[in-house]
């Protein structure tokens, strides 16, 4: 009886349904294209989702406290550009890694300080910093791509393998484990959920809300920086994106991943496991559409439908 009860609660969670859906899609895919089920394609798929999945961890943290971070894609751009500029100066790989991660933390912290001490809306603050960072990177590069003669150690961060598994996949998994522990096994994690569920109650119960908020935005910048570093070291080049595509569209991918994964944009609700599945689903569909030879325009349409379906599902559950 108890197990049935448990199974029922489990089935009521978005995460479980999402997982079920992903499994079904994965299982029926080979009917349409046998090459889908190859280890090459799986390692390729996991590497493709690693960048948005890593950014989604930071996005989840901001969403959990009822905020949002629209600047993640631009932070990635700034980090990629800085990394390649340091490559051109022939800086050692260790220095590049430290500098760009510090840059990500700093940019995230700036967001956090403006939001916390300026008592401003996260949406507008991070939109503002996004535009400022975009403008700066475009100004510095005059809109042109740059590349440098990168060392093998730098290129191996994002381009290398550990056994048969690409490095970005390993890094993603490690970060998810860290994220899981952070959110579920630490006081800081419980504080994040409390702040998101009820800010005033959290404050009254002695939680340093400002500190939590600052840390969350700094971490979001850090995760974006890790993803940006991985991309820069994968390609060994920086390419500015025009318009709204590219890494500058990363904020939308990350928000979609956490929302599809069951997080509520009003805060307090969402799991890291869901964020991962959300990112996985988007990557899976993107990858699958090539195997199904589908019209590229339809991809975006389908992703939009899935985001809406997830939100509708989540809302209908909350009304009960």
């Amino acid at each position: 009886m108890e197990t049935i009860q448990k199974a029922r609660t489990l089935l009521k969670q978005e995460e479980t349904l999402l997982l079920l859906f992903i499994v079904i899609v994965t299982l029926i895919s080979p009917i349409f294209s046998p090459e889908f089920f190859t280890s090459y394609n799986f390692s390729n798929l996991l590497r493709q989702i690693s960048y948005p999945a890593i950014v989604s961890i930071g996005m989840l943290l901001t969403v959990l406290i009822g905020g949002i971070d629209l600047s993640v894609g631009s932070v990635m751009q700034a980090v990629s550009l800085t990394a390649i500029m340091l490559v051109q100066l022939q800086a050692p790989t260790g220095v590049i890694v430290i500098v760009v991660l510090a840059l990500g933390l700093f940019l995230g912290l700036m967001n956090g300080m403006l939001i916390t001490f300026g008592k401003l809306q996260p949406f507008i603050v991070t939109l503002g910093t996004k535009v400022i960072i975009d403008g700066t990177t475009l100004f510095m590069t005059k809109g042109k791509g740059i590349s440098g003669d990168a060392s093998d150690s730098f290129l191996s961060i994002g381009g290398g393998y550990m056994g048969a598994i690409p490095n970005p996949v390993i890094i993603m998994l490690v970060l998810y484990i860290i994220g899981f522990i952070l959110l579920n096994k630490t006081i800081f994690g419980r504080q994040i959920y409390s702040v998101g569920s009820n800010r005033v109650a959290a404050y009254n119960s002695g939680i340093n809300v400002k500190k939590v908020q600052l840390s969350v935005y700094a971490l979001s910048g850090l995760f974006a920086a890790i993803a940006g570093l991985l991309i820069a070291s994968r390609t060994g080049a920086y390419q500015p994106m025009s318009g709204n595509s590219g890494a500058t569209g990363m904020e939308l991918s990350a928000i979609a991943a956490v929302v599809v994964g069951g997080a509520s944009l009003s805060g307090g609700k969402g799991t890291i496991w869901g964020a991962f599945l959300g990112a996985l689903l988007a990557g899976l569909l993107f990858n699958l559409l090539v195997f199904l030879n589908m019209n590229p325009y339809i991809q975006q349409f389908i992703l939009g439908i899935i985001i809406l379906a997830a939100v509708i599902f989540s809302a209908s559950k909350n009304r009960k």
Partner: protein, 336 residues
């Protein structure tokens, strides 16, 4: 419970609907080859023996790029091969991911049109590792020798510039006043076209360049800059615009100034609207063909897939088009 099941069902129905119309969902009539092999689980040349070509397009929101895709699909259908098209949305990482997926899909040859400069190279290397022939079309060619590719196919912008200059010198009787409208100054294409045009036109000392300005590739800026040039110069014989859009803008300005009868306009790119002008009016005299069709690229991909030896560089013809031969080039159904 019921609601959840229905949402899940909605997902599944959607997926099945989408997979059912995969490939065929493109432009009806042009993707028959793609759709007929759909669902049969064709893998490369195995099974029905059909060749599968992957085409990674850089962006799909510009008429030139859409024309690339449409002509590639049509060529594939005509030649009986399957083609899978992906849209990079102008993002190097999306392009790389697309190419990786196409490699995983085990295509027989890859056509890549990219504007991502060096950032795309890891994908080229991956194609080489997988042993898949790479056809670079209508995009930058790697300047680095370590970057592997099978062939590079495009129009030669410098030759296009030379041809325009020769044509103009000939029609001007080697003397007169010329106005030049360049594209976006820092764009490679504008620089290459100038590089071909200028030395050629300077061979004729009696041709005087009375104005050289940028029309930014676009109609409206070209019209504005041409209006100013018309006011500043009472005698203009010829206008050379580096693309059709700017020529069309310049023509509007010249018409407003009532000077169409004394000024001839010449341009480049051969887009449909320009060909219509040449065919039906005397406002545009000539345009140089810029090959937007991907037929050659598809043919090269098929040859490469069949293991045929192909040239490292394929330069497409760029003939001049004026009233005498416009009917050979004008296609009312063309997308560009």
């Amino acid at each position: 419970m019921k609601k959840k099941t229905s949402v899940l069902a909605l997902f599944l129905v959607l997926l099945i609907a989408v997979t059912g119309c995969g490939g065929g969902a493109g432009n009806a009539g042009t993707t028959e080859a793609a759709s007929t092999s759909e669902g049969s689980g064709s893998s490369g040349k195995s099974g029905d023996g059909k060749i599968v070509i992957g085409f990674s397009q850089t962006v799909m929101n510009h008429p030139f790029r859409i024309a690339n895709v449409d002509t590639a699909k049509k060529a594939a259908a005509d030649l009986g091969v399957e083609i899978i098209v992906t849209d990079g949305q102008g993002d190097a990482n999306k392009e790389i991911a697309n190419i990786e997926s196409l490699i995983a899909r085990n295509v027989d040859a890859l056509i890549v049109s990219s504007l991502s400069g060096n950032a795309i190279y890891p994908a080229y290397k991956e194609a080489e590792r997988a042993g898949i022939p790479l056809i670079i079309a209508a995009s930058g060619v790697p300047d680095d020798d370590s970057i592997p590719y099978t062939t590079f196919v495009a129009s030669d912008e410098v030759t296009m510039g030379q041809q325009a200059a020769k044509y103009i010198a000939d029609k001007m009787g080697q003397k007169g006043n010329l106005v030049i409208l360049n594209g976006v100054v820092e764009s490679t294409n504008s620089q290459l076209r100038t590089q071909g045009f200028m030395p050629e036109i300077q061979k004729y000392p009696d041709i005087k360049i009375v104005a050289e300005q940028s029309g930014e590739w676009l109609r409206l800026p070209a019209m504005q800059v041409m209006t100013n040039i018309l006011q500043a110069n009472s005698k203009i014989d010829f206008v050379f615009a580096q693309n059709d859009e700017m020529a069309l803008g310049a023509i509007e300005a010249i018409k407003k100034a009532n000077r169409m009868s004394e000024i001839k306009v010449v341009s480049m790119d051969s887009q449909k609207e320009a060909l219509e002008k040449i065919k039906n009016t005397d406002e545009l005299m000539m345009t140089v063909k810029n090959e937007w069709s991907f037929e050659t690229a598809v043919k090269l991909a098929i040859d490469a897939a069949n293991g045929k030896e192909i040239q490292k560089r394929v330069i497409l013809d760029s003939p001049v088009i004026d009233k005498s031969n416009v009917d050979n080039f004008y296609d009312p159904n063309s997308t560009f």
